[in-house]
Symmetry: C2
Subunit: 232 residues, 2 copies
């Protein structure tokens, strides 16, 4: 399932992480001794809904999706995470099992930071705690925005919005092609709709020369128009 990689210093230098920016050199050094890096491949599950966790993870490379299973059995993608993001910190603080599942989309290297390490830093470094509080607040804000969107926008609007969100998150290459490969189903799980609906809407956007599609490649042709459709 996962392969431990050599602890090459360079490979998991956490000091570059925004999340750890308020740590002292000493604290970073302590941190270094308690963490472990692992490599995961596509499809690997990092943690499962309900599972008790021993620590949180920093994404060094790769792409993961954080999902929740709905009552109808379909999965809802809560967010995508990439290099620089952290996952599983929420359930550590609440001391409950995880309320989401994290699954690898593109081969990833993750650094595991034990719960104890986190709490000891939280208790000694006040700035770090405030920082963490802000990270969570930011996520809460995003979540509230998403609730409002999903409740009031049409599927068409939401598909357009998700495309823009993906563009912001993953970026595009020189040809304006989205730098991540997702299935139509994954986009549907992000939007919260049927796969067929996403396919139809992508085709429609393609027909209207708003995007171009070649397999899973999505090229942004008319971003202003897409933004207008998304109602943003």
């Amino acid at each position: 399932m996962k392969n431990y990689i050599h602890p090459l210093q360079e490979e998991y230098d956490l000091s570059t992480f925004n999340f750890f920016k308020s740590l002292t050199p000493d604290e970073l050094k302590t941190l270094d001794g308690q963490i472990s890096a692992s490599q995961y491949k596509k499809g690997d599950v990092i943690y499962h809904e309900g599972k008790r966790l021993t620590g949180f993870y920093c994404i060094m490379s790769g792409v993961l999706k954080v999902i929740k299973t709905g009552s109808d059995g379909k999965e809802q993608i809560i967010r995508f995470v990439t290099k620089g993001d952290i996952i599983a910190y929420r359930s550590l603080l609440s001391k409950e099992g995880a309320c989401t599942t994290a699954k690898v989309i593109e081969q990833a290297v993750l650094v595991h930071v034990p719960y104890n390490t986190l709490t000891s830093i939280l208790s000694s470094n006040h700035k770090f705690t405030l920082n963490t509080l802000q990270v969570v607040c930011k996520e809460l804000k995003d979540a509230n925005n998403y609730i409002t969107d999903i409740a009031h926008k049409t599927v068409r609007e939401r598909v357009a919005e998700v495309l823009i969100m993906l563009r912001d998150k993953f970026g595009v290459n020189k040809d304006n092609v989205l730098q991540v490969s997702l299935t139509r189903e994954e986009i549907a799980n992000m939007v919260g709709t049927a796969t067929e609906s996403v396919i139809r809407l992508l085709s429609e956007f393609k027909h209207d020369k708003i995007i171009e599609i070649k397999g899973r490649e999505i090229k942004f042709v008319n971003l202003p128009r897409l933004t207008r459709i998304a109602n943003m």
Copy 2:
């Protein structure tokens, strides 16, 4: 718009608030000197989307709704708050304008705690900070759950679910009647649907003897069945 009430000690004893449970007697005393209680009436807006705030509020009594305006102009109710809840703490930490609006539904008494007071306690009392972190994490979890629900459940399921949520939040009297008076439109704004749909579904539930309705009074008759409809 609002009437300042007399600072009767008993009226705003914050030590009973869960949120402040980790404060020392000294800190509570300091807090007491910096807060102010006000009474608001139905329809009053405590703060508006985008507004910069000077502090957060503790609800001593009454009912408020926290809303966000969607792109279609309709409001989405993010949550209801009652005695013991706090509002506006998020935007204080992120140092941005508020991303929601808080409006009074039932005459309320709120205690205003200045931003500076909060940060000074946050920097001195580590337990309090961790506690705050947990409160925010709890809200984030709720938000994630709600995203999954709203994206995957039918309007019918969501109306049932919201009724149950309201019951958990506001309770019922001895006759199983919900202890809060909401308009159909407010329920619709909670569910994220059209007012007429809520009206129709409530009528349906009434016809099926799951609830009884008399004006805005909602009586729970068959809770197990409602829970089954809600898919919980």
